[in-house]
Symmetry: C2
């Protein structure tokens, strides 16, 4: 590891130790003993800064709490891991975690009516409004992951035995959110190009009515699915659902936070997004937005009364289980939000970079793109059975040769050992990094005797 | 603010900016332009370190992302906020957030069977085992908050209309976890000392059978409740529940992570704990543990099959919705865990400090302790209607005079404006800090003409 990266981490840790001295001290100031401890740590920090300046020193810290290795792949390498790319924190989010990491940190100024989305300091209330506006929906709540958004909607809408129609390429958590409330799942098949169309949805809706006597209670579809990141006909599917008076849940786990999402224009009754997948936020985090027609159901407040005490629970929302993201995760989402709002406007450029890389990969003879092409997303599934896998067949490291070669060039996140079908994301990489990435694949191909035609 | 605290925060932020330069760079090293940017930031860092050394400089950073104020109450003050005390992060947890904050950071080495509690690097699998052992339960999972633990259990066990018996002093999220699955709540009343007894539970169980024809499907009780932090007869209640073959959920939101909890000795079928409340962990985080008898139900794996595709979802657990705490929250829990394991052994000392403070407060004439006394917990509800509230009646700042006086002495977390009944926690304060706290209340009392007898 470049020693400066190591020393930056050590510097961060050393400052946390300095901070801890104050956390244990009296408000009146440090005792002599504490001052001594502080001085020793400060000297250590000065040494670290000198090491950063001079590129000197050796790694001194390699574990946290004895067992947890440092994670520096984002600093050391280009990370093309398909689900990590758009969840990487902004520096602002990291700063937010630094100062709001403590458990109930956002509750300092919680006042009546005691709900997370009403807190004004830090500006959680404003953020909730901004978030709804950002998605062009009427109301929004933060949730601990997109899956908890699906769960809230299925819990509010689906009774035992009810049917939910969903994309056959949907994320497993959509299926499980239905299973969790004892609903029945019916899939909308993808066509031979792995696209879920409005026509297919119409057919399946009709079949549902024919076979069960009534329409499903909910239709869900991913705008871009996690397998190929192909774009599905969400707008058309929403329209069909509405013809049957069925609400439509738009799964924006791969869109909200990376590309513009206009819930109303899409015909979405619910929009679900993932903080850790696409909003540069820590896990678990996410958003559930609803239009006014359904907000009352999914954000229904408690009506329960204690049978003896008559206790009631104010305006806590049943499906949210009251407050949701109480600490640093919320504030980090908020801290990344200005960047997120800006970056969605640059989505076209991200798609260009994606296509640039895929085109270069396709230039390596025998390579193919499994995802729809040209790409409309930064995440892609590729097939290198006809290129890198032919090398793997005779290589002593088998499929790992590719991961080895990539790692050697500072590229990580490709599924170790995979040389047939695998996924990557170019999201958030600068042009310089995308070019470096494409060059690296070319180099590895050439080195291993594959034909590269640009 | 003490300038060194401000500069420590600025140093942390500056290092995050330095780190960001590497995050945008090529793996081969910084470009000239990046080197220049790095150099400028490094000079800034050197200036900050000099300011820390010399106690010089002025605050330069006061907001994150333009709108989020810095939070430095833990560094600047003694925080007696009742629910924040045991959720404060350890330095190790803060370091974990620093390097594992990115969304899916724990998924780097996720391999078959693709589940969070099976990941070995970072050592999540080991942590899950250790956590179960720590609670003396058979299995444990991390969850996004204790409430998600209640929800998993009610979802697995409670059908529409089923009765759940719970403490009338229970946390609102227990009630809502029942409401969320359309269960009916029956309360176990507290006695006149605000204690929920096994006898009361027995009576209510009997009444339930008599009135509904069958026992409840679940009994829940907080070991220490959030209102008074009184100790309830959880062991006896578990025993009674078992006489009716009803499982018992032990709510350890105020115990797991601060005092020893032996699930088997308590007769718990489920143990729920809160990371951000009592395990020095970020929000949302928590633990749900189960014994073998019920683990199969609450941790049931998916059996759903796509009706067209036949897709299945491996060993993902339905009530967990697959993976739960995918990023820094999990790693921070892990990083705090050695400290947490050690600190529970020092619970007696925490109780001593709590009683020391309460005794001193009771020395201020007219003050009372609403919670059971002597205290068995660090959290207490006190009543100062006969002391500080008599001052508030004629003070121009009304009840805020007390908060003002406390703030002036570097004590925060008391509910602003409250001078009648209010709560505080002494958890984790050193003796020196507890003494300072008690002295401060005495001083404020004396200054305002109240009688202080030690």
């Amino acid at each position: 590891m470049e020693i400066r990266i190591q020393k930056i981490i050590e510097g961060l840790f050393c400052l946390e130790d300095l901070r801890e001295v104050y956390r244990q001290a009296l408000p009146t100031g440090l005792s002599d003993e504490e001052e001594t401890a502080f001085g020793a740590k400060l000297a250590e920090l000065e040494g670290i800064v000198t090491d950063i300046r001079n590129r000197t020193g050796h790694p001194r810290v390699t574990r946290i709490a004895g067992s947890i290795e440092l994670r520096t792949r984002e600093e050391q390498a280009i990370n093309i891991q398909p689900i990590q790319a758009a969840g990487r924190l902004t520096p602002e989010a990291r700063k937010a975690l630094t100062v709001y990491g403590d458990g109930y940190s956002v509750c300092d100024a919680c006042r009546k009516p005691f709900r997370l989305d009403k807190i004004t300091k830090p500006p959680s209330a404003q953020f909730h409004e901004d978030l709804a506006r950002f998605l062009n929906m009427d109301q929004a709540r933060v949730v601990p992951g997109a899956r908890r958004g699906f769960q809230a909607v299925t819990s509010a809408l689906v009774e035992k035995g009810d049917t939910v129609l969903l994309s056959s390429l949907g994320h497993y958590t959509e299926y499980i959110a239905v299973e969790q409330v004892h609903g029945a799942v019916r899939e909308i098949p993808a066509n031979d190009r792995a696209i879920v169309t409005a026509d297919a949805a119409a057919e399946r809706l009709e079949a549902c009515v024919r076979e069960t006597g009534r329409p499903p209670v909910l239709v869900m579809c991913d705008h871009f699915d996690y397998q190929n990141a192909n774009e599905h006909e969400v707008r058309g599917i929403a329209k069909i659902a509405h013809q049957y008076d069925v609400p439509f849940l738009y799964n924006g786990a791969y869109t909200v936070g990376v590309m513009p999402v206009d819930g109303k224009a899409l015909g979405a009754d619910f929009v679900v997004g993932s903080g850790h997948k696409s909003m540069a936020s820590p896990a678990p985090s996410g958003v559930l937005a609803a239009n006014d027609e359904y907000a009352d159901r999914v954000f229904k407040t408690t009506t329960l009364e204690g049978d003896l005490t008559g206790r009631r629970f104010g305006i806590k929302e049943v499906q949210m289980l009251g407050c949701t993201l109480m600490g640093g995760n919320l504030v980090a989402m908020m801290a990344s939000f200005p960047t997120v709002q800006e970056r969605v406007t640059r989505w076209d450029e991200e798609v260009k970079k994606s296509n640039f890389f895929i085109d270069r990969l396709l230039g390596i003879e025998g390579s193919a793109c499994v995802s729809e092409y040209p790409r409309k997303h930064a995440l892609s599934k590729v097939d290198t059975t006809g290129s890198f896998d032919t090398v793997a067949k005779t290589h002593k490291r088998k499929g790992y040769f590719l991961s080895d070669e990539l790692t050697r060039r500072g590229i990580v996140g490709q599924f170790a050992g995979a040389t047939r079908q695998w996924k990557l994301s170019t999201y958030g990489l600068s042009w310089r990094r995308v070019e470096y990435l494409a060059d690296a694949f070319d180099e590895i191909a050439e080195k291993n005797g594959l034909t590269v035609g640009r």
